[in-house]
């Protein structure tokens, strides 16, 4: 019937990283899946009445409660004895995961529900017009943290959702990127084979919000990983078991220069800002052992 479980014809922007990731996720999860979605671009462009692009059962309630709704869906499946046959995915953007949706997500993880949570991280509240979120990187220009004469853009680094997830003691936590689609799907399949709460944090470029050419989505996603700004890692039972190694990390400029949201960083005098971003990349590299040379298999 349909080749994909998120079928074409929805109204996402050209080059939308989230729509690509969402299709990869649901295709990997398969038809025996119930999807619970927070408010954001994804549910807007995929379920504008009277149409829906979803070939699996789908529910959107509010902005901050996908994890709580999913907890209820999971409990209902458990009650009817179908929890072994049907998977539940609770998905959200950065706001629905790290900010407004954080409480419900933390509660769901703490209670141990058998749900895969997915974050589509495009690093700002895109659906409402590119406002900063807790996952907006340092010095990004957004509409509520614009670059101006007095301020250099967003003043805080990304909230580390991966470590927060690991701290909840959940069995599987991973990062993924639309620049690495097969890796993403492998992780989704692995996650849904594990019982209990799982979290996959997916990096998804947004051509509109990041101000880049729509045709560059894939390359930009790859550059985020290759500069060590977005490490691809896996934690199982709290232990770092998977790391995508970067043989020769690229300088952060290669990534930043392609995006209008970082254009101000290339003004003369702002070199210090770029160095701070490079430092973040270097810290990631060290923390997660991202480069080839690794001592006695410490990952």
């Amino acid at each position: 019937m349909f080749e994909h479980l998120l079928s074409p014809g929805h109204t996402a922007c050209a080059g939308c990283g989230q729509s690509l990731a969402a299709r990869l996720v649901i295709d990997a999860a398969g038809p025996n899946t119930i999807v619970v979605n927070n408010t954001g671009c994804l549910e807007v462009f995929s379920t504008t009445y009277p149409d829906s692009a979803w070939q699996v059962p789908f529910i959107h309630s509010l902005f901050e409660n996908a994890a709580a709704v999913a907890s209820g869906v999971e409990a209902a499946l458990r009650q009817s004895g179908r929890i072994d046959d049907i998977r539940v995915i609770a998905q959200a953007g950065d706001g629905g995961t790290a900010d407004i949706g954080f409480q419900a997500l933390s509660g769901m993880w703490e209670r141990g529900h058998d749900v895969l949570s997915v974050c589509y991280d495009n690093e700002a509240y895109m659906n409402t017009g590119v406002q900063r979120s807790g996952l907006t990187p340092l010095y990004t220009s957004t509409t509520t943290s614009p670059y101006g004469r007095v301020l250099p853009g967003n003043l805080r680094p990304k909230k580390n959702m991966v470590e927060i997830a690991v701290a909840h003691g959940i069995p599987y936590v991973a990062t993924a990127s639309v620049g690495f689609p097969l890796d993403l799907q492998r992780k989704v399949k692995k996650a849904i084979s594990i019982r209990g709460p799982k979290f996959i944090h997916i990096h998804v470029p947004c051509p509109l919000g990041w101000r880049h050419e729509p045709s560059l989505t894939y390359q930009i996603a790859r550059l985020a990983v290759e500069t060590c700004l977005f490490p691809l890692i896996e934690y199982e039972e709290g232990v770092l078991t998977g790391v995508h190694t970067i043989t020769a990390p690229k300088p952060v400029e290669d990534y930043l220069k392609l995006q209008g949201r970082f254009r101000h960083l290339f003004k003369p005098g702002n070199e210090g800002l770029v160095s701070e971003i490079q430092k973040i990349a270097d810290q990631n590299r060290e923390r997660y052992h991202l480069t080839k040379k690794v001592e006695n298999g410490s990952h």
Binding site: I34, T48, G72, V73, Q79, E110
Partner: protein
């Protein structure tokens, strides 16, 4: 089976008889005993239900929304701040036509923080599309829960239903309550079988975005569903009386309104006090009566007009206030008589906020003031007077 038990326990026992598959709640005084009784039943294996201990009321309502969408009967309960916190979800549930049944143990709203009884919490939900029923006694509240499931799950309704009871007065009060037998419950309440649900065998999408070209029709449908409930509620009450042998629920209850010169309109447990006061006054020859509101939303306009049209003076006793205006019930009743001939003189009184006691003296005072000039927001029982 009759038992002398706390209101909260009666509620828990009746909820258990309805066999909800998923229960989710967050504690708040004075609702706590209800969910604690239910938790105990689950722990003892007496109730086979998923009990989801969520981290806030917003999540409690969200969890039951997800569960009911997946085809399970559900239950939640709250009060005051908790009800207001879950209100976003309740508005959403009504719009999504989710038959969530919840209990509101009526408690005042902050600020100041106050854990005692008034109706400010449930009144704040009156625009939401959630059906609101007010019980006068623990028996009626228990009966209303059974009726609530029947009503909510009716395929022509499919709306959230909230059963309200006065905090502490009813929730923590002990009464003899007749808890129905299981076989009678099965005869009255069929299994939950929603027409639409989340199921991979037949994938559907819930909760779409509806633009200006679609939203208004969908909301109109919702309004019509609430109006359909006006016809179904008395039917359900009649069916209930037939199976269980007592009158509970319905839209309104007239009490001693025949030939009444003055009537009070009120909701909830205060009606017990009002009925006693009326008995005392009637014995002295005063022609007074009560119209008890049982269903507040949908608003039973016809029944109110029918019962009060010939009463020259009507006092509405609100246990809440739409701040800056009048009591909510007063506001609705006053509007209903616009253009009616004859039309009673209708005065609005505010009493019993934050657990301030309403006594027979309070009711007497209202009857004494009613013949005077018309008032719309007269506070009764203020320490410094008003």
């Amino acid at each position: 089976m009759k038992d002398f038990i706390e209101g909260s326990e009666a509620i828990a026992r009746v909820v258990a008889l309805c066999k909800p598959g998923v229960i989710s709640a967050y504690p708040i005084t004075p609702q706590t005993h209800i969910v604690e009784f239910l938790a105990e039943m689950v722990a003892e294996g007496k109730l086979k239900s998923q009990f989801v201990n969520v981290e806030s009321e917003h999540s409690a309502a969200s969890a039951v929304l997800g569960a009911v969408a997946t085809g399970q009967r559900v239950f939640t309960a709250s009060s005051s701040q908790g009800l207001i916190l879950m209100s976003e979800v309740l508005f959403n549930a009504a719009g999504m036509r989710m038959p969530v049944v919840l209990v509101c143990v009526n408690r005042a709203l902050s600020a100041p923080i106050n854990i005692w009884n008034d109706h400010q919490d449930s009144m704040a939900l009156r625009d939401s599309g959630v059906i609101q029923l007010y019980g006068e006694s623990n028996q009626e509240v228990a009966d209303l829960i059974l009726q609530a499931y029947r009503l909510a799950e009716d395929p022509h309704i499919l709306l959230p239903v909230m059963v309200c009871l006065d905090g502490y007065i009813l929730s923590h009060g002990y009464e003899v309550v007749d808890i129905p037998e299981e076989d009678k419950v099965l005869g009255f309440l069929p299994d939950f079988n929603p027409p639409e649900r989340l199921d991979p065998a037949d994938p559907k999408s819930f909760g779409p975005l509806a633009g200006p070209e679609y939203y208004m029709e969908i909301r109109h449908d919702l309004h019509q569903a609430l109006k359909r409930a006006l016809a179904l509620i008395p039917e359900v009450a009649t069916q209930f009386a037939h199976i269980f042998g007592r009158n509970s629920g319905g839209l309104v209850e007239p009490y001693q309104l025949e030939g009444a010169e003055m009537a009070i309109v009120a909701a909830g447990s205060v009606c017990g006090t009002i009925k006693e006061t009326i008995d005392t006054l009637r014995a002295k020859g005063k022609k007074v009566g009560l119209l008890r509101i049982i269903t507040y939303r949908p608003f039973p306009e016809e029944e109110i007009i029918q019962n009060l049209l010939k009463v020259p003076m009507v006092a509405v006793l609100d246990r809440s206030i739409s701040l800056g205006a009048t009591g909510p019930i007063y506001c609705d009743i006053r509007a209903v008589f616009q253009g009616q001939k004859p039309s009673p003189k209708i005065s609005g009184f505010i009493a019993g906020l934050g657990g301030r006691d309403i006594t027979p003296d309070t009711i007497m005072e209202i009857f004494e003031r009613l013949p005077g000039s018309q008032v719309s927001d007269q506070f009764i029982g203020l320490k410094d007077g008003d």
